[in-house]
Amino acid sequence: MSYEIKLDIFEGPLDLLLYLIRKNEIDIYNIPIALITAQYLAYLEMMRSLNLDLAGEYLVLASTLIHIKSKLLLPPDESEGEEEEGEDPRAELVQQLLEYQIFKEAALRLENRPLLERDVFTRGAPGEAPSAAEEEGEAMMEVGVFELVAAFRRIVAGFDRPEELEIDAEKMSLADRINEIMEMLSEKQQMTFVELIGDRTDRRRIIYTFLAILELMKLRMIRAYQSGPFGAIRLFLAVEG
């Protein structure tokens, strides 16, 4: 395959490196670093001259290659005691290349399977006996967490105030505790603060439980009573579910 065709179909620096190794018919366990580094840099230069987007990862690998090359050129240095005896500076890169190669092959095998809508097809006609919601003319879809956050992002995308965009992890924890407390109270009618905390006594949980109670009291959704100055605080639902 010619240079020109190959250029924009590299999937990253590892892919380019694998290509160079294959092209030069090199043993992957014994890469001539000087040769490969020179060819790799020449490729980067060509990509740059063609104004192709050069992702930062390509440059990172370039510096790795140059670093390995310099290590191989240096005579064994006594002062570099940290290096393991006889450790090949190429070893880590080789390992990474081998692992990447495995997944590249796996991707190819996935693609060669009988693919839905390419090789095999399911029933083309829309389903019969539609459910009630579909009769209302609304398309139904199966959703997961990603669809949920994507939906929320779409909604708030048009907002001016940036704070609307932020999702506060602390607010989430607080909402969790509020929901839990309301659920527990509607089951048991009344509970003490200690009962609400339960066996799990990590700091975060105690703080959020406390904040949740304050929030619920502020919203007048629960009421709290204390029997005497040091007595247990009892919490009741203020509204009927």
Binding site: A129, E142, V145, I155, I178, R220
Partner: protein, 173 residues
């Protein structure tokens, strides 16, 4: 089964609309309409004779596989109670409740820019959203939040496991 019949069977099965003989002639070179009509008839009879649960019917000038009309009660049982199927409106409303709870309906209306009454009712019926309480302001509006079933359906340990918008943005670049 003759290979040509097998191809026609697969074509009818995969077609989104009832398949006409004319369309088959376009796809299979060297055939004519008369021959295809005969092969359609052959397939209809074959499904009948096998006592199959599926039958080939002539609909709107073409042919389409349908489940046998007398099996409709079973098919209806299949179609009820599918999990986590939501409309776009329901999904968006649920997203607002999940990320902004506890909140009142007016707040959801404001964020979505539409009246969410219908969607909210559906979510309450599906037990994905529930009434948490009432806000102590004039009119005592109802406060909504998500349910334990919501966590179950979306496979979340708790609400803090919900992905943040920043995480989604990082994926987009």
């Amino acid at each position: 089964m003759e290979e040509k019949v097998a191809i026609i069977e697969a074509l009818i099965f995969a077609s989104e609309t009832p398949l006409t003989a004319e369309r088959v002639v376009e796809i299979l070179p060297g055939t004519d309409k008369k021959e295809i009509v005969l092969l359609f008839g052959e397939l209809v009879r074959e499904y009948e004779q096998r006592g199959s649960g599926v039958c080939l019917r002539e609909i709107a000038g073409g042919f389409q596989f349908r489940t046998r009309a007398d099996l409709a009660p079973w098919i209806r049982k299949l179609k009820t109670g599918r999990p986590a199927m939501l409309s776009q409106a329901a999904l968006e409303t649920l997203a607002v409740v999940a990320y902004r709870q506890p909140l009142v309906k007016a707040e959801i209306d404001r964020i979505r820019g539409v009246d969410v009454s219908g969607a909210l009712k559906g979510l309450l019926e599906k037990k994905l959203v529930r009434i948490v309480g009432r806000k102590d302001v004039p009119g005592k509006p109802i406060i909504y939040g998500t349910t334990r079933k919501f966590l179950e359906v979306f496979n979340l340990r708790d609400l803090s496991e919900l992905p943040t918008l920043r995480e989604l943005k990082d994926l987009q670049e």
